[in-house]
Amino acid sequence: MIGFEAVSKKYRGGRLALDDVTFAVPDGGSLGLVGESGSGKTTCIRLALGLERPTSGRLTFSGTPYPSGRGKLRVLRRRIGFVLQDPYDSLDPRMMIRDIVTEPLRIHRLPGGRGPGGDALATDQLSAVGLPGADLRSYPARYSGGGRQRIAIARALISSPSVLVCDEPTSSLDVSVQSQIVNLLLDAGRARHLSMLFVTHDLDLIGRVVDNVAVMYGGRIVEIGPAEKIRHSPRHHYTKSLHDAVPADDPRNRRLAARAATQVLADPGTSDGEALAGHDRCVFASRCPRADERCRQERPPMIEEDADRSYACFYPI
């Protein structure tokens, strides 16, 4: 549905946010992007939504390249719904929820954007996301983080998109609410045969939600494959370090607070995860326990293990 082919994105000032990134969100399927800050996952979202253009490479939607004209881009955007991370920022505090939810209809000139028909549509959408009795004339301030995310999801789905793009939709929410929202997204996806691009830093969450996962670091994809395999038998050392970093599920298994802190320390003075992308070396080399000279001199290519699995490492696990 959405395809990234050798996409790179360089910002003014020389910062290379994405370096030769290739992945695809299959029709009716889902892809997760996992990475920490500086990994480039947010840039991928921005490109996928058409907010920015790649510096090089090809971005396709349903096989055809992303258009450049604003009008055509808007037509494309009708088919993409998005839910962003911060429920407190993504809703205009001065708009009634009825208007927030029906806004995509107005933007894309679909029926129901204005007038009484819109009320019925808004109520339907809000019921579908678990807010059946919501007062259409209320404002976002009345709702909790979870409630606002539901409103955002209602807004994302109202124009019947084919793809849903989610950027850490649950990271700002309380634990007990996160699972509700995730279930909501999964249901909506299934019911409407949506393709989904799901970005998060939570490895466990992504394993439950998507079919395939791409792990990003320093603007590159270091590993990509089915969620189960990535979770249980990672090939790239960064993926493994992400796994290892997740806290224990029982005090008997605790090991982080006892481990030597010198392992995998980021270089002080640089931002988290800001590896030197764009150079001819493995992005993870400076932090990898297995790295050797070759890793520092040569950029590892993506090696295909199976039809659906690849990684970029000279010495995979």
Partner: protein, 350 residues
């Protein structure tokens, strides 16, 4: 050891007795909280938004805004700080208590180099000269495993990564080796790798310190890694308290069970299946239901739950819970956990 004299000398790192925090007339943020942190112990305070955990921490640290009213007793290292007036508390607080805030970027002064922000602890409280304090600040940065500490000390907060800023906050908190350290979700905003490093750092620092830690979090994983004891808060009340292994092995309160179940399901559930969820949402402060505040969401709720608010009572050795029907889940009469995503019971008032 007899009480009295020994208590004067050391005592527990923190002792809260019947602590109540109110904002105005309507919002009762903390209700009758009793909590103890012994020296050298890490007590995790688990709660979500609106649970009152931050208010409790601020009350213990004496950092509540003047609009809040506090009753009850706060003892730090045997000293009754709730009875002290502001100037009195100010004089002793640096020697009693260190704080680690959640958002290190906001908690550090943006126009002062970080070395100086650490050094002022030494100049103001340890009577060091500026030169000595500057050296001590560099040593403190080295202690939290920052490489090239002298260079980093000259940098401003915005020039550091999130993980390094958090290390600076930790350095400030432990600099004077206070008996109590209160940490308010210090790793929540960090990447998982950075969080792992910080947890490792805390683990190492603990070895050499006798400080007690009150660690606020909503992440059961962090609790599993760090805590000796855990207390769970909901709607301003402590609803369960026990040694950490007990909490994980035999949680008695349905809310605790729900939290643990959510996490377990996330980790080991089958892909593509719906996630376990606790129905509904936490009540907004000031808007709590009558009786037990968890009853609208509780699979075990009965009539008595809607009528009376259960007190915190022992359910096993060293283990207390505030529930009319404490015990393991799956008891008869309990509504089974929902398998599919039923529409949320969340109303507009939340």
């Amino acid at each position: 050891m007899t009480a009295g004299a020994a208590e004067q000398l050391s005592g527990a790192a923190l002792e809260l007795s019947d602590l109540n925090v109110k904002y105005g007339a309507k919002v009762h943020a903390v209700r009758n909280a009793c909590l103890t942190v012994e020296a050298g112990q890490v007590v995790a305070l688990i709660g979500e938004t609106g649970s009152g955990k931050s208010s409790l921490a601020l009350a213990a640290a004496g950092l509540l805004p003047s609009s809040a009213t506090i009753t009850g007793r706060v003892m730090i290292a045997g000293q009754d700080v709730s009875a002290m007036d502001r100037p009195g508390f100010r004089r002793v607080r640096a020697s009693l208590l260190g704080c680690i805030a959640q958002d290190a970027m906001a908690a550090l002064n943006p126009v002062v180099p970080v070395g100086r922000q650490i050094a002022e602890l030494f100049t103001q409280h340890a009577r060091m000269s500026r030169q000595q304090a500057a050296e001590a600040a560099v040593a403190a940065l080295a202690q939290v495993e920052i490489r090239q500490p002298a260079a980093v000390a000259r940098l401003y907060p915005h020039q550091l990564s999130g993980g390094m800023r958090q290390r600076v906050m930790i350095a400030m908190a432990v600099a004077l080796s206070p008996p109590l350290i209160i940490a308010d979700e210090p790793t929540t905003a960090l990447d998982v790798s950075t969080q792992a490093e910080i947890l490792a750092l805390i683990g190492e620092l603990r070895e050499g310190m006798r400080s007690g830690f009150l660690w606020i979090t909503h992440d059961m994983g962090v609790v599993a890694e760090l805590a000796d004891w855990a207390a769970v808060m909901y709607a301003g009340r402590i609803v369960e308290q026990a040694p950490v292994q007990q909490i994980f092995d035999a949680p008695a309160h349905p809310y605790t069970q729900g939290l643990l179940q959510t996490r377990r399901d996330l980790r080991s559930g089958a892909a593509g299946t719906p996630l376990f969820q606790i129905l509904g949402a936490p009540p907004a402060p000031g808007d709590e239901p009558a009786g037990c505040p968890f009853s609208p969401r509780c699979p075990r709720a009965t009539d008595v739950c809607a009528e009376s608010d259960p007190p915190l009572e022992p359910v096993a050795a060293g283990h207390r819970a505030a529930c009319h029907h404490p015990g393991p889940s799956g008891a008869p009469g309990e509504t089974p956990a929902p398998a599919a995503a039923a529409p949320a019971a969340e109303g507009e008032g939340s």
